[in-house]
């Protein structure tokens, strides 16, 4: 047992009674990497390998992913890998993988992907502007759009979603507690969720009963999984039971508040319909952007098409289903959670883990690079609050809330 003399006096100690959330923050980072390890160590290795822990299978999976990314030959040029035992490098790569890496890269679809992804992000900014306008922020279009990208940028680097506070602070210019600013943030999330819901609904109707039932079950299972991980976020003052899945999902997504907001919005149906259409369009553009990036890294001339047998509707359903995980803030940039969910959804649709991981990583990479660029631009064109100060404020607010 410890004695009072064991206590080391430290200047940085928190006051008695306060809670330290440093462990949670660290976990927010570690957990993302653990999930990625799960993807790379368990899911990715060649299924024909002797075991998931087999070094050869692991290496093959990783190298094949690099080959699919078209960077394996570049790694060979740089002397990082060596080809068929020739040259310098840390890993020996089979020549057929270099052939995979040398496949033609689709420049046109790549540019289309860039255009669609950037457009979908821009439209999200515009949606924020429309919401801000609706909730009474009359001026400063630039600031209202920038606030969105500043928030997304914050979420790119910090876990548990400090972006919401960053948006609110940018909008109201204060500590982010203004009612209107909070409303804007809340409704932005609401419409993101509604957009996903509509796309999923259309997709599932198209798939028909047989195709939809498995997809719905898996989407639900994934949502339950993510919610059970992030349950505390939805139940600030405790939780009813970990086995009440639907109640937990509702709580995690602020179900009652969402329904109440939806009822209020029905009072202005034109506005509701307009933003809803915009939200669906935004999500569809993102999905189409991902589709193009998949096509860019396919090569019909070499008879290699990523996810050859996957119809666009199924692809859209996968992306929409996986996007649900992005609504619940946990790891930074939903790192690990989104990727795992997306890979599993692709697997449900009959795609192998290797292609699932390739496409998912390409999607994430592209989206996050764009968010980062918009984040930089947003900070340049509009005065935004200090990043660290916003994070500190978010942390302290969380400490108070958890202590309460």
């Amino acid at each position: 047992m410890t004695t009072p003399q064991d206590q080391l006096p430290r200047a940085s100690d928190a006051a008695p009674g306060t809670t330290s959330l440093r462990g949670s923050v660290a976990w927010g980072y570690v957990f993302g990497f653990l999930l990625m390890l799960f993807v790379f160590l368990i899911l990715l290795p060649d299924a024909d390998g002797p075991s998931p822990w087999d070094a050869v299978a692991f290496r093959k999976g990783i190298l094949e992913t690099f080959a699919n990314f078209r960077i394996l030959d570049e790694l060979a040029d740089m002397g990082i890998v060596r080809v068929a035992d020739i040259g310098e490098g840390f890993l020996n790569v089979d020549l057929d993988l270099i052939a995979v890496s040398n496949r033609k890269f689709g420049t046109a679809p790549f540019y289309l992907a860039l255009a669609f992804i950037s457009l979908s992000l821009m439209l999200r900014g515009i949606r924020q502007r429309m919401l801000a306008s609706h909730f009474g922020f009359g001026h400063g279009v630039k600031g209202q759009i920038s606030s969105y990208f500043f928030g997304r940028g914050m979420n790119l680097f910090f876990p548990f979603g400090p972006g919401d506070l960053a948006i609110a602070r940018t909008l109201d210019g204060g500590d982010g507690t203004g009612e209107a600013a909070v409303d804007v943030v809340f409704h932005n999330r609401l419409f993101e969720l509604l957009g996903i819901f509509v796309v999923l609904l259309i997709g599932l109707i198209y798939l028909g009963w047989g195709g939809a039932i498995t997809t719905v079950l898996w989407t639900l299972l994934l949502t339950i999984a993510v919610v059970s991980l992030t349950q505390p976020l939805g139940w600030p003052t405790g939780q009813p039971s970990r086995w009440k899945f639907l109640a937990n999902i509702s709580a995690a997504f602020n179900g009652p508040a969402l329904m109440a907001a939806l009822k209020r919005l029905l009072a202005s149906p034109v506005f509701l319909f307009g933003i809803l259409v915009l939200s669906v369009a935004v999500l569809m553009m993102e999905i189409i952007g991902y589709w193009w990036i998949k096509q860019a890294f396919s090569s019909p001339m070499d008879d290699y098409v990523l996810m050859k047998d996957l119809a666009f509707v199924n692809f859209a359903v996968v992306i929409a289903g996986a996007s649900i995980t992005r609504i619940l803030p946990y790891t930074f940039a939903s790192f690990g959670i989104y990727e795992t969910a997306s890979v599993v959804m692709f697997w449900v649709m009959g795609e192998g883990f290797l292609t699932g991981i390739t496409v998912t990583l390409l999607d994430s990479l592209l989206l996050n690079v764009f968010i980062f660029l918009f984040f930089i631009v947003a900070m340049r064109v509009n005065p935004c609050p200090s990043i660290l100060e916003t994070w500190r404020m978010f942390y302290q607010r969380s400490v108070k809330r958890v202590a309460a």
């Binding site: 410890t2 064991d6 206590q7 100690d13 462990g23 949670s24 068929a84 876990p159 809340f186 505390p232």
Partner: protein, 897 residues
């Protein structure tokens, strides 16, 4: 309530993570347990139950011992210093990490078994005088165990620090002192054991490629002494760290600086000593060693060369000078040679690109999905003897039988019915019932002599059609093939309720059959528990749980139906040469596999990768293995119908003797091997390749200076092979390529070997494995390696070496001569102009009367379908090329001008 993102308390996050952690734990356990149970049933069904229990008890002891230790390492610090609210979490984390650690540690059970049962090699290393067995058996196990203990001690220390730090308490506790001392001791011991690693060290480009060299051993300033200094420094640092922790845990008033002052000085001094020693080593290397190489290293180079030759069993190669006579034999004398009469021009193997392919073959990979370069007999068998859509020939192998008192060589292929996992969802395998209950077996061997063709250039079959039509009673066999190379990752159920298996197609319908119940193979599915286990194991849940075909009183499931999977499932410690071949023994079809014992820890011996090579490439891959010692120790037979498997121990190599001591019921002694089986032994191809193409080509140089200067490096000879063109439009498509030789089989008359080679087996033909070599960077012939394979001579290795200053053309040069020969050129061009595909076959090197004759075959293929026919023989003998439609006529043409 508005959305309000916030950071939850760690405890709340832990609950979610723990829930999923337990979920994953239970799922993994539930999925893993059936594999253990099935492994037990599998061993039991084949009569190897004790082997299972040996493995299982060893693994269980290791799992429990290390799992418990790791659990304590995690749980105890939390329990001792953490708040009661974290006790549950500590237990959870302890169980997870303990299970994972125990499982990983139990994975090294083979090391543990060898460490405690290893049979000494009877040879000592030249530095420490320890038996080689110490390096092969004990050292790896103790290193693994020390590493595991280090992880446990490090984990305990880490959790102590985390728990104490999270409570803002002093890190120094009695537990931390004890664990630090243990960790230091483990690190010191590991470093000290590292002195033995000097003998296994890879020295990169040094003349002593592996093992201790001059700098390692000679003088006070040596790497060996550096290991000692490092051990002492680590011990000193451990003491210093313990002193600091002890003082901190006892004295609460003293400042940290005063506590640290003394120990830090000591630690600094120790590190200074180590650094100074290291710098002295570097200076010695640059000033004394490097400028005096190779003379100073001669003794160590010699040790490395000797150890490598021992490790690769090349110290027993017999070297013979071979200078072909200047006077040629007459055509009649050539035709009288039994080696020529039996020349296997219908090559009984298939040439594939190497795996991984060479850079020079990149273009081919980019253009074609197939990696097969040359396999005419496989294509011919497929065209003429496949007969039904569901059958397939996966490889052609060379075997020999004594027919009418004369040894003869035959090409042999198994007509298999490959599994869904192998050929994909074909029409006849689309449904579970078809794949698992109906199409259960292939049908018969197809065989033809390798030295006979009919008038169209096609093989003459001695076993053909369905059911087998056999020309000689010697080849009568049970034709049903339940176990074969194409039956990957699949299972079948036999003796099911109300359904018989498809046997073969009759004139207009089909025959059915029921698998004989008396055969030992197959696991009885005689209870709901077994059905449940197989449902999880096979992932065919609904089929196993709900199929009414399964009859508890007699249904059996047959798993691991490929020879490699079956052998590896019983004896995973063996390296399996992945070239199983089938032959007939007492009316039954048996698969033969070569099993090798290996290690990569033979002191001073060079390491190479043992694995799949180009020719006879495996239908089923086996993981490559890094080796520097191996022995062709086990011959494995598998009955293609009954699944019975036998492991024959054919040498007394120390490693296989150790395994025989561990598993006393596994091996059958060579003396109990049936004569039919003994007559079909072959030398392991992949081992042969590594021995000669990777090692002997350099290590045949026996003087250290010659070796150091690489004065006589060899290269495996190349030949030009493959399609020359497909009609005019496809002429010169690049399919024809330079391709390295692998070992090829041939029946040799001892009388045809160079003078001085004694065989002592009377005039009996010898089934041998041959491989030619050229000097590196040149194309003339330098050596022909011969490995004998028949009883009495099995494993005898010859190197027939052309004197360095004598020109004898190599195969690639002979290919060029034949290319430029006018009659051959005209004939080939004519075929191509008329729209046929012309394929250049293997170039055989045939020793005859102490001389050498080359035979090259030219095949013609229709563009409409793949049916290659042997249409032309070109021979090269004593500077003259002749060609004709048969080998005899080509030879007889020598008598005309």
């Amino acid at each position: 309530m508005k959305p309000d993102a916030f950071i939850p308390a760690p405890r709340a996050l832990w609950r979610g993570a723990a829930l999923w952690g337990w979920f994953a734990y239970v799922v993994i356990a539930l999925l893993a347990i059936p594999h253990f149970i099935v492994q037990y049933w599998f061993n039991q069904s084949l009569g190897f139950r004790t082997l299972f229990w040996t493995n299982f008890t060893t693994q269980a002891v290791m799992f429990l011992a290390y799992g418990a230790l790791l659990f304590l390492a995690v749980w105890f610090p939390i329990r001792r210093y953490g708040p009661p609210s974290r006790f549950g979490g500590g237990t959870t984390l302890g169980i997870w990490l303990g299970t994972l650690g125990g499982w990983l540690y139990a994975g090294s059970y083979q090391q543990a078994l060898l460490a405690f049962n290893g049979v000494p090699f009877g040879r000592s290393d030249p530095v420490f005088g320890r038996d080689i067995g110490f390096y092969v058996y004990q050292l790896p196990f103790w290193q693994t165990t020390l590493r595991a203990l280090g992880i446990a001690a490090g984990g305990c220390l880490l959790f102590t620090v985390i728990v104490r730090y999270s409570k803002r308490q002093r890190l120094a506790t009695p537990l931390a002192v004890v664990v630090t001392a243990l960790l230091g001791l483990i690190i010191t011991l590991s470093t000290y054991l590292g002195r033995y690693e000097l003998l296994l060290r890879d020295n990169g480009d040094s003349g002593v490629r592996i093992g201790a060299e001059y700098l390692d051993l000679v003088g006070i300033v040596s790497r060996l002494n550096n290991v000692l200094v490092m051990s002492l420094v680590e011990a000193g640092l451990t003491v210093a760290a313990c002193v600091v922790l002890l003082r901190l845990s006892r004295d609460h008033g003293t400042s940290l600086r005063s506590v640290l002052r003394g120990p830090v000085r000591v630690a600094g001094g120790l590190l200074g000593v180590e650094l100074a020693f290291f710098l002295a080593l570097v200076i010695k290397d640059h000033v004394w060693v490097s400028p005096n190489e190779p003379l100073i290293q001669q003794e160590y180079i010699q040790r490395h060369m000797d150890a490598t030759l021992e490790g690769y069993r090349l110290d027993r190669v017999e070297v013979h000078d071979w200078e072909p006579p200047s006077t040629p034999l007459t055509p009649e004398q050539l035709l009288a040679s039994r080696t020529i009469q039996n020349a296997p021009y219908l090559s009984s193997w298939v040439s594939y690109l190497e795996e991984p392919p060479d850079v020079q073959h990149y273009q081919r990979i980019a253009l074609s999905e197939s990696q097969m370069v040359y396999g005419p007999l496989l294509q011919t068998y497929d065209q003429q003897q496949k007969l039904r859509p569901y059958y397939k020939f996966l490889s052609v192998d060379g075997v020999r039988y004594r027919v009418d008192g004369e040894k003869r060589m035959f090409a042999s292929a198994v007509r298999e019915l490959p599994s869904r996992a192998f050929v994909g969802p074909q029409e006849w395998l689309r449904y579970w019932g078809s794949a698992a209950l109906l199409f259960t077996h292939g049908m018969g061997l197809v065989m033809s002599p390798t030295n006979q063709i009919d008038e169209t250039g096609s093989p003459l079959y001695v076993s053909k059609n369905i059911p087998p039509d056999i020309t000689n009673p010697r080849f009568e066999h049970e034709p049903r093939i339940y176990f074969g190379e194409g039956l990957k990752d699949d299972y079948v159920l036999t003796n099911v309720r109300g359904l018989q298996e498809f046997d073969y197609a009759t004139e207009q319908f089909r025959e059915v059959i029921t698998y004989p119940e008396h055969h030992p193979d197959g696991i009885a599915v005689n209870s709901w528990f077994r059905r449940l286990v197989f449902a999880v194991y096979s992932r065919d849940v609904t089929a196993f749980l709900f199929s009414r075909y399964i009859d508890h009183s007699r249904t059996k499931v047959h798993i691991r139906r490929t020879p490699i999977a079956r052998a590896a499932g019983i004896a995973p410690f063996l390296f399996l040469d992945t070239n199983p071949y089938a032959f007939i023994s007492e009316g039954r079809v048996l698969w033969m596999m070569n099993g090798l014992t290996t290690t990569d820890r033979y002191p001073y011996s060079f390491r190479e990768m043992l694995g799949d090579k180009a020719d006879e490439r495996a239908v089923e891959r086996f993981p490559e293995r890094l080796v520097n010692y191996a022995e062709d120790a086990v011959k494995i037979t598998l009955d293609a119908e009954s699944g019975e498997i036998r492991f024959y121990q054919v040498t007394d190599d120390p490693i296989i003797s150790s395994w025989a001591r561990i598993y006393p019921d596994l091996f059958v002694p060579r003396t109990a091997m049936p004569a039919d089986v003994g007559n079909q032994l072959t030398y392991p191809l992949q081992w042969f390749h590594v021995q000669f193409d990777d090692i002997y080509k350099r290590y045949h140089q026996r003087h250290p200076l010659e070796f150091y200067n690489v004065e006589d490096l060899w290269d495996d000879a190349d030949e030009t092979i493959g399609s020359i063109g497909r009609g005019l439009s496809g002429f010169g498509t690049g399919d024809q390529m330079t391709f390295s030789y692998e070992g090829y089989h041939m029946l040799l008359d001892p009388a045809d070997l160079p003078a001085g080679v004694e065989v002592n087996e009377g005039d009996d033909l010898q089934f041998a494995l041959l491989m030619p070599f050229t000097p590196d960077g040149a194309r003339n012939l330098r050596s022909l390696i011969v490995a004998f394979q028949d009883p009495g001579q099995y494993g005898r290795l010859l190197s027939l070496q052309i004197p360095q200053g004598t020109f004898v053309p190599g195969p690639e040069q002979v290919d060029a001569y034949i290319d430029n020969d006018r009659p051959v050129h005209q004939q080939v061009t004519m075929w191509i102009r008329h729209g046929s595909e012309v394929i250049r076959g293997n170039t055989l090197l045939v020793p005859v009367g102490g001389d050498l004759l080359y035979v090259e075959t030219i095949w013609v293929n229709s563009l409409q379908n793949e049916l290659p026919q042997l249409k032309l023989f070109a021979i090269r003998y004593h500077d003259r090329i002749t060609s004709d439609v048969t080998l005899e006529e080509a030879i007889l043409r020598r008598s005309t001008r």
